[in-house]
């Protein structure tokens, strides 16, 4: 068993009198594609910032065996990051950006970055200020993929991009970046698009981890049942964690239920990540 690439224990973060993170615990093994999923304001970006040494915190965080807040510079040799508010220097040309990065980052290869941009509309001579949003995202991805990093953190990397750019973005990542000794951590609101890319998920709600599971276990543990109104009561008797009526069918999500018992009542499927997210995030109020 190799050491986890990230290990977080009792992570708390306070902004003034408000505690934002209430003690997070999780470990991320090498070679996985993790989805960190939560509502706006749930604490995703704060968690990432703590892992990247961008913010102070209480508790223990180790990334590649280092304390990110103390050894940020050393850590950044092996960690690459796209933030949801990332900006690249607008006054530079693409070529100049690559030259600058080669000077400041030991593991950045301008050659690799340029090769990732071949076949795109982002030309080496283009001024960054003149690039469209989609082109900026391509440039940004080319930059981080050209860093020979062991951990790549993507915070809402495809925000504001249209569907073709989003697809191209993830295709690039899987085709040119992901290997068995690299680890990817992604946050996004477009969960359905990356659902099958993920090996594991962490759901965060109000500063707490509500679910940390491999995707395989999600499939084994959770089941979604659609029943007609006359069967709804029988379904409710099996204690779903969530129920909702859509088009005259009641859709229920079960945790750890026997699929055989559910199949008697109606169609059983594995909930999509977005269905599961809705189910678990509204748990307290969902089932009346």
């Amino acid at each position: 068993m190799t050491n986890p690439i990230v290990s977080v224990h009792g992570l708390k973060k306070r902004f003034g009198p408000n505690e934002i993170l209430h003690g997070l615990d999780f470990e991320i093994p090498v070679g996985r594609i993790y989805g960190l999923i939560g509502h706006n304001g749930a604490g995703k970006t704060t968690t990432l910032n703590a892992m990247l040494g961008l913010t102070s915190y209480e508790g223990s965080v180790q990334v590649l065996g280092e304390d990110p807040y103390k050894h940020r510079a050393r850590l950044m040799k092996n960690v690459a990051f796209i933030s949801d508010v990332a900006s690249l220097p607008r006054f530079l040309k693409v070529r100049e950006l690559f030259a600058m990065l080669s000077d400041i980052h030991p593991n950045f290869s301008a050659e690799r970055a340029a090769s990732f941009l071949e076949g795109t509309d982002v030309k080496p001579g283009a001024l960054i200020a003149n690039l469209s949003k989609g082109m900026l995202a391509q440039l940004h991805l080319a930059v981080v993929m050209a860093i020979d990093a062991r951990l790549l953190v993507l915070d809402e990397p495809t925000l504001g991009l249209d569907i073709t750019y989003r697809k191209r973005f993830y295709r690039r990542l899987l085709e040119d970046y992901m290997t068995a000794d690299r680890t990817l951590l992604i946050t996004t609101h477009q969960v359905d698009e990356i659902e099958f890319m993920l090996s594991d998920i962490i759901f965060i709600k109000d500063g707490l981890v509500v679910l940390h599971s491999t995707m395989d276990d999600v499939g084994n543990r959770y089941a979604q049942l659609s029943v007609s109104p006359d069967r709804a009561e029988a379904g409710m008797a099996l204690k779903p964690v969530f129920a909702e009526t859509r088009f005259g069918q009641t859709v229920m999500v079960f945790d750890g239920a026997d699929r055989g018992a559910l199949e008697v009542l109606g169609a059983v499927t594995t909930p999509t990540l977005s269905d599961l997210f809705v189910a678990l995030m509204s748990r307290e109020t969902g089932v009346k």
Binding site: I33, R171, M178, F196, S199, P271
Partner: protein, 117 residues
């Protein structure tokens, strides 16, 4: 092409697509199959999921993993696969279909004789 159904694990669905390529001879015996990486990128799925789909076919001796070269259709693959798929159909699906035909009051002989079905 990229859509999956929600009733079966993704690796099973990918395995079936690869199996279909072998059965309909899109990939002939001895020929190379698409790499794990390219399938993962094409379908936006985790590479480990694709590896698992291939492993299932390697276990059946239908696909051969050649070190550093990728995945190849094994010799005699189509026969083996056909045999295996027939067995699973008869064991898993046929009893269900049969009881459904019965439950719906359909006449099997008549159905088989009906043109275009």
């Amino acid at each position: 092409m990229t859509s999956f159904n929600e009733t079966q694990p993704i690796f099973v669905q990918i395995r079936q697509r690869i199996a279909a390529m072998i059965l309909n001879e899109t990939a002939k015996e001895g020929e190379a199959l698409p790499s794990v990486r390219s399938i993962a990128a094409d379908l936006s799925v985790n590479p480990l999921t694709v590896t698992r789909a291939y492993d299932a076919l390697v276990d059946l001796d239908v696909v051969e993993s050649r070190r550093g070269m990728g995945m190849f259709v094994a010799s005699g693959a189509r026969e083996k696969l056909l045999g295996h798929e027939r067995e699973t159909f008869l064991a898993d699906e046929w009893p269900r279909i049969r009881s459904q035909i019965k439950a719906l009051g359909l006449d099997l002989d008549a159905l088989l004789k009906e043109p275009g079905k």
